[in-house]
């Protein structure tokens, strides 16, 4: 053990080899996380299918989603209109397909924004601690004190309903959640000796945060991201149901349910089909996130 055996075999590894190794380890890790709980695969499959249908809506939707037709008002499901038609004679199936675009766009962008902003805040608060932590988290707690629907409702009511404003409003409700989620593991990882070792090796705080802490908390943040995407889609639909969605005639699921609800006594299917659409998307994301969370949990607690 004591004598170093330098020989011809001592060829240093290339940077490319490192990159390949790290990437493949990441891939295997992800694959393993999915495999740990088969339901995550099911969730992912359903969610990707919905995304695909939303993207393909212009090609696969049987009718134009905003074309009105007085002749075909409030028709129950039939061969021509699988999911029936609404009060203006618009095809429900087509509107659901286009509505998916709105739901997914708002949800993904809002959560993307919240993830970046919230994680940054949470990591900074957790890493630096002290007064900065207290102030940042107190602000987050103030935002968190509002029920997210009420806060979103308030912001949209003040800003006016448009896609951009909905994205901002929903991401504001999610930012404190991400800050909290990112802060806890940041504190845990900060206490681990490899971060202290990094400081002893003269690494800058930025390098430690971005290069060492972030990769270790990212899985947890991403998993929560998928769960909050489900919440965001639900909040968007709820706002639209209250009347604070993207303005008509643009089809939104929440808005469709609202219209269906107004005709609930005679044409209940109007409310039922978009409800099922929301349920499917939200459930698939919950399946995905929940399964992954189970898989990453022990690794975060114990050792890899």
């Amino acid at each position: 053990m004591s004598a170093p055996h330098l020989g011809p075999a001592a060829r240093p590894a290339s940077r490319l080899a490192y990159a390949r190794r790290t990437l493949s380890a990441f891939g295997t890790g992800l694959f393993k996380a999915f495999n740990a709980n088969k339901t995550s695969w099911v969730g992912l499959g359903i969610f990707l299918t919905v995304c695909l249908l939303a993207i393909l809506a212009p090609w696969i939707a049987p009718y134009d989603p905003i074309d009105q037709s007085i002749l075909f008002r409030l028709k129950p499901p039939s061969e021509a209109h699988w999911f029936g038609t609404d009060y203006y004679g618009r095809d429900t199936l087509s509107r659901i397909l286009y509505g998916a675009q709105i739901s997914l766009t708002i949800g993904l962008l809002a959560i993307g924004l919240a993830l970046v902003v919230g994680t940054t805040i949470g990591m900074i608060a957790g890493y630096y601690g002290g007064a900065l932590d207290v102030i940042l988290m107190q602000i987050m707690d103030v935002l968190l004190a509002f029920p997210s629907l009420i806060l979103g409702l308030f912001i949209v009511a003040m800003l006016g309903p448009s896609i951009e404003n909905l994205i901002v409003a929903i991401s504001v409700t999610a930012i404190p959640q991400f800050a909290r989620i990112a802060r806890a593991p940041t504190i845990a990882v900060k206490e681990r000796e490899f971060v202290e070792a990094g400081r002893a090796l003269g690494f800058s705080n930025r390098r430690l945060l971005a290069g060492h802490i972030l990769p270790n908390i990212l899985p947890e943040v991403m998993v929560m991201g998928s769960l909050y995407l489900a919440t965001a889609i639900r909040v968007e639909a709820s706002l639209a149901f209250i009347g604070l969605g993207v303005s008509p005639p643009t089809p939104t699921w929440g808005g469709m349910i609202r219209e269906g609800f107004e005709n609930i006594l005679d044409s209940f299917w109007l409310a039922v089909f978009p409800s099922i659409a929301i349920l499917i998307v939200v459930f698939s994301l919950n399946l995905l996130g929940d399964g992954l969370r189970d898989a990453i949990d022990p690794r975060l607690k114990g050792e890899e």
């Binding site: 103030v142 029920p147 009420i150 003040m158």
Partner: protein
Amino acid sequence: MTAFILKRLGFACVTLFGVLTVVFFIVRVLPGDPALIILGDQASQASIESLRARLGLDQPMIVQYFEFLGGVIVGDWGNSLVSGRPVIDEVLNVLPATIELTLVSLVIGTVLGIPLGIWSALRRNKFTDYVIRITSLLGLSLPAFVSGILLLIAFAIQLRWFPVISSGRGTTFADRASDLALPAINLGLIMAAYITRVARSAMLEVLNQDYVRTAEAKGLAFAVIVWRHCLRNALIPVVTVVGLYLGYLIGNSVLTEIVFNRPGLGKLIVGALNQRDYTMLQGMMVIYTLIVVLVNLVTDLVYGLIDPRIKYQ
């Protein structure tokens, strides 16, 4: 323990103060003149000016801010722009209905959720566990208005067991109960779904603790171990989460009240939205904040009661 309570009380005041400030500035600073929002684009300059004066918007921001804070403290929340009545009266008028709905739902959620979660944890990876997990996941995937509409279609429209519109003002207990039944079941089931999941994971974690092994090494019966050694420890995270979800429950009560056409804060807020009654809206934010801060405070206190480690801090 006293220090702990005082500390929590202090935090609650800070939060309350922060939220009031946020509400104030959202209303004043965000693009869009409230007067313009209230009156619409077509309003004349003169009518906008007069409304601004009536609302005190012509005064310096800092004056408005302190008047707002002072008003909140003494219970002067302004008058509704639509009915002209004091906001606080309108709010207090419907508050009992919302509190009734929320509390009954919370009870339903707890009574169903905790035993189901614990049962699920004890039968981990068995069929029961699987069914409970999928069902609860489904439960928390349903937006409250969707589940409300489905309940309405099934039990009020098709089966006619309950009224389609619940007045919330029935005088007899039976009336009130039948009004409350569907909305409370709707919210309660969603709450149960959340609590089930938390209780399950809390229980699973507790079952893995060293002190459970110690209790087993003492020869205690399994039921005793679960009841005496695990339950109270598992309740600690459940209480925290129930407190957090109460905010969610209040949000959902808005949707539920709309679907079941039941008077309450939810109907009030949507009415205020539609009629651009912004003093009312501002008052609603204050009352929601008060409720949430109060709930958090109670959660912390319950937490202190369950966990002896808090007491000695």
